[in-house]
């Protein structure tokens, strides 16, 4: 292909997408920053940003009242629940990915399909299913009382929210880890045992280091949606546990776009920093290995 045709093809194929990407990916992000730093009349202001860090509210737990930083508390709670959910997903998902990768080809494809079916169901429905299970009058309590085990109150607690997050995002953890593990050369494992590595050691010294890229991408794929969700907390937290996503959505519904943009902006910056750090960590690990 000579230079002239190549340039022509490049222009014809890349122009629509480039224009689209600038207009609908880059520019909207600039709008987030623009709204975040302006007031209702589009005059420059830091108020939205500083409101996130300084706004306070009073918590009344019956006996004492205390003043807390509203949005910082919300953010820390989001972070906490997201990290817990991600950790649970990893602990549950890693062994499953390992078992799948070692299974016969047929079993692998069946398990893969099974894991993907819930993923393809809309997450609203999935979350809602858990609501019907965990409700005070729900199936879990019906089951427990039928066994005379008494009832538990779980809906509206942080545990319920974590259960919802784990259930919704579990496949996003398993699939990347599985796809890396399935590609691992069996000979590599044989070589390891040949070199005198016992089973558990093979896992620790060969499989785990090699599967780290999959683990990292699994962590990102679970952490990011769970830190920014707003439906799960509304349904399973009974609206008692405001998360950062709820804050954004709430401001949006209240038509308070500038403050919604400010929260989104701060979330975005924090995630960017986290991801850069994680990338750096991963690179260092790879270099060390």
């Amino acid at each position: 292909m000579n230079d002239k045709t190549r340039r022509l093809i490049q222009r014809l194929t890349l122009t629509p997408y480039s224009v689209w990407a600038v207009l609908f990916i880059v520019v909207p992000l600039l709008f987030v920053a623009y709204y975040a730093f302006t007031d209702q009349n589009f005059r420059f202001t830091f108020d939205n940003i500083s409101r996130f860090f300084t706004a306070t509210s009073v918590v009344d737990n019956g006996e004492t009242t205390r003043e807390v930083h509203t949005y910082l508390v919300i953010f820390m709670r989001s972070l906490k629940l997201a990290v817990i959910s991600t950790a649970v997903c990893l602990l549950m998902g890693y062994p499953l990915a390992y078992i799948m990768a070692r299974a016969s080809e047929r079993t692998q494809s069946v398990l893969l399909t099974l894991i993907m079916i819930p993923m393809w169901m809309n997450f609203l429905i999935r979350t809602y299913a858990w609501m019907t299970i965990l409700q005070d009058t729900g199936i879990l309590n019906g089951f427990l009382s039928a066994l005379h085990l008494g009832r538990i109150h779980i809906i509206g607690t942080e545990s319920a929210v974590v259960i919802g997050m784990v259930y919704d995002y579990f496949p996003y953890m398993v699939l990347p880890i599985y796809s890396i593990m399935a590609k691992l050369d069996v000979k590599l494992l044989e070589a390891a045992s040949d070199l005198g590595c016992p089973g558990l050691s093979v896992l620790r010294r060969v499989i785990w280091p090699l599967s780290i890229p999959g683990v990292l991408s699994g962590i990102t794929m679970v952490l990011i949606p769970s830190i920014s969700t707003f439906y799960i907390s509304q349904k399973l937290g009974n609206g008692k546990f405001f998360l950062i996503g709820d804050a954004i959505e709430g401001q949006y519904t209240a038509n308070n776009l500038h403050f919604a943009a400010a929260i989104a902006f701060i979330l975005m910056v924090i995630l960017l920093v986290c991801m850069a750090l994680m990338q750096k960590l991963a690179n260092r690990r790879l270099v060390a290995a």
Partner: protein, 379 residues
């Protein structure tokens, strides 16, 4: 003979990298011409310019008297056999060969006839319905040739077509390619880095390096009368020595004055002298023109290859008699074994076997990575 392709003052650079520098070349009808050179010498780029896949920065490509500089590949009466064949994996053997005919909307029965004829030419009758991905390398090669020839091009371009085949198959295909060329009468322009391949198949060999043509000639010319140290070294094995032309037919090198067949140099002109390893006779020490000590011996089946130290310069000599290491021998060199060349920028770069090992051979061999790097830059 009729000129079919004329390359006039072609230059081409990729960025700062000058790949072709003012190339001139005439290619004649019915000729098997080979562009030979190490990787990065510009041979593939030159081929791609003829095919229309690159546009030269300057200069003209004349095809049957017509300037075809701006003509895109699909309008040129030239076809290409690509390095890794580039067969269409989604089409079977028949459809691959029929591709260009379908593109030209040739009637069905005509296509049937032409494709069948082509497949029998390349000995692939009965493979019509086979998927190309199920074929062996040699068979894929034949499909690629049939696909390019079915169009009855005036010129067939072959870009290192044999490099992916193993040695035995490569030898067979060399013979076959030559036969096909003779049978069809189509001009073949063949690119290779393998000098044996070039010598055994070509009517004309064009030796290139660093974007320049070093020599154009028949295989015996190129071998026997290399124009400079690069050609002498690249084609076959050579001992290349610094010498002085004392007068016509008299050259002095290695501390001895020899009779030779060369003339027409200036008085006491410094020259490069080539002596092929097989042209040196080994004689008892006292009877030789030169004396030396054997430093290594390698048995190669037909002959021994020995390295001889003569006053610090290591010669390579091929002999059918065994000589042991540390043996003192004499060398006898006939006038017709001596070839004198003008000094060039390649003088002093080649022709000493003091660091001889098999690495020396690899200068001419291109490993796959380099090849890929080259095709990357030429894309």
């Amino acid at each position: 003979m009729k000129k079919i392709v004329e390359i006039k003052n072609i230059s081409k650079s990729f960025g700062d990298n000058v790949v072709l520098d003012n190339i001139n070349l005439d290619i004649y009808d019915n000729e098997f011409i080979t562009l030979l050179g190490p990787s990065g010498c510009g041979k593939t780029t030159l081929l791609r310019i003829i095919g229309g896949f690159e546009v030269p920065d300057q200069g003209d490509v004349i095809f049957m008297g017509e300037n075809i500089n701006g003509l895109p590949p699909h309008k040129r009466n030239v076809n290409t056999v690509f390095q890794r064949y580039a067969l269409f994996p989604h089409l079977n053997v028949f459809e691959n060969v029929a591709f260009s005919l379908r593109e030209k909307r040739v009637p069905k029965d005509e296509i049937q006839r032409a494709v069948t004829e082509m497949l029998s030419l390349v000995a692939l009758k009965g493979f019509e319905k086979r998927s190309v991905t199920s074929l062996s390398g040699g068979q894929q090669q034949r499909v690629a040739i049939a696909r390019a020839l079915v169009n009855q091009p005036k010129v067939l371009l072959l870009d290192e077509p044999l490099s992916a085949l193993d040695l035995k198959l490569r030898k067979d295909m060399q013979v076959e390619l030559k036969n096909i060329q003779k049978a069809t009468g189509i001009t073949f322009i063949f690119v290779t880095h393998d000098q044996e391949e070039a010598l055994s198949m070509s009517d004309t060999v064009v030796v290139m390096t660093e974007g320049h043509i070093q020599q154009i000639g028949t295989p015996p010319d190129i071998y026997n009368e290399p124009q400079n140290a690069f050609v002498a070294d690249f084609i076959g094995e050579s001992n290349i020595l610094d010498g002085v032309m004392l007068e016509d037919y008299k050259v002095r090198f290695s501390g001895h004055t020899f009779q030779c067949l060369d003339k027409g140099f200036g008085p006491r002109e410094a020259v490069d002298v080539v002596v092929r390893p097989e042209d040196v006779d080994i004689v008892p020490e006292e009877k030789g023109h030169l004396r030396g000590v054997v430093t290594s011996v390698t048995f190669l089946g037909v002959h021994y290859e020995i390295i001889v130290d003569i006053g610090g310069f290591k010669w390579m000599i091929q002999t059918t008699d065994f000589h042991d290491v540390d043996e003192h021998i004499g060398l006898f060199i006939e006038p017709d074994a001596i070839h004198v060349m003008k000094k060039s920028k390649f003088s002093g770069m080649f022709g000493d076997y003091s660091s001889f090992s098999d690495e020396m051979d690899e200068i001419g061999e291109v490993d796959l990575e380099e090849l890929e790097a080259e095709s990357e830059t030429t894309k």
